[in-house]
Amino acid sequence: MIRAGYELTDVQKAVTDFLRSKVSAGVPWSSWTVVEGWPDQTVFANFTRLFLYSHTPLWVGEDVQQGGKGLRRLEMTIGGWSCIAAGGAEEAAIALSQLLALFDDPAVNVATFNSVIGGTAYTAKTFPQLGIYINDVTNPRAIEFRDEDDFRGEVSLQITC
């Protein structure tokens, strides 16, 4: 049965678990790590690898459909954070282009991964099997501060669930 009644953080968990599955799958993803939510100080204390982070999705609307409750439309930000020790601007650019290619490809909705959502383990499920649909991804937005040696960028996912 397709899971329903998602909390926003459940969707965040599913997408983060999907990224974790990519990181454990092979290069170039295996050079990076994944952080759920905003990185805390322990992440920066050992900052030698680029990490991907995920914001909690934002509810942006609801699809209207006849004869039932419409799907919720969410927007979720995913970012790549690099520093000089983690490969600098080049590594950040690779990570962001990989994120764009990954979520822009319709195959993202047929890729299987393991996830634990709300205490329930789901093995080898696709996003639609979990009741989540990745619809679109925006172009990466670079975030640069002159006084920091960090290189960052973010993409936004359009999700329905």
């Binding site: 905003w38 934002l58 501060f145 920091e148």
Partner: protein, 138 residues
């Protein structure tokens, strides 16, 4: 000899009028969009007020807490032309706006503008559709 002539001047007039009305709809919708984004972004910056040097009562969350109110006052808009506008935070008023919006190593991001766009984009698109159809449908 037999010839047929079509008078399309009426069609052209209708087409031109539809274009003008669609443009009027777009102008009204852009104006609405700017107002909505200004309202939503400013709302995201109108959190609890607390004195300088004290900790935020809810760090890392929206709405951004207020210390000097400079950030909420820095919200501006500019019309490039009647159908193109920008809503932004003026860095001359609050040069730390980008740090608050995008976060740093020591501070969680509070995307007051990006979230405003995400929250209001559907309402703005709906208004654009409504304003255009209302005028062109006449």
């Amino acid at each position: 000899m037999f010839s047929v002539e079509f008078d399309t001047s009426g069609l052209k007039t209708t087409y031109d009028r539809a274009n003008i009305e669609a443009m009027k709809g777009a102008i009204a919708a852009v104006k609405f969009g700017v107002e909505e984004l200004m309202k939503a972004a400013t709302r995201n910056l109108m959190g609890v007020a607390h004195p300088p040097g004290t900790k935020s009562p809810y760090p890392g969350n929206l709405p951004v807490t207020r210390i000097s109110r400079e950030l909420s006052k820095s919200m501006k808009y500019h019309f490039f032309n009647p159908i193109s506008a920008i809503v932004y935070s003026d860095l001359r008023s609050a040069n730390y706006a980008a740090y608050v919006h995008d976060g740093t190593r020591r501070m969680k991001a509070r995307p007051f503008l990006k979230n405003a766009v995400s929250e209001r984009q559907q309402a703005i698109l709906n208004r654009m559709r409504y304003e255009t159809l209302k005028r062109v449908g006449r």
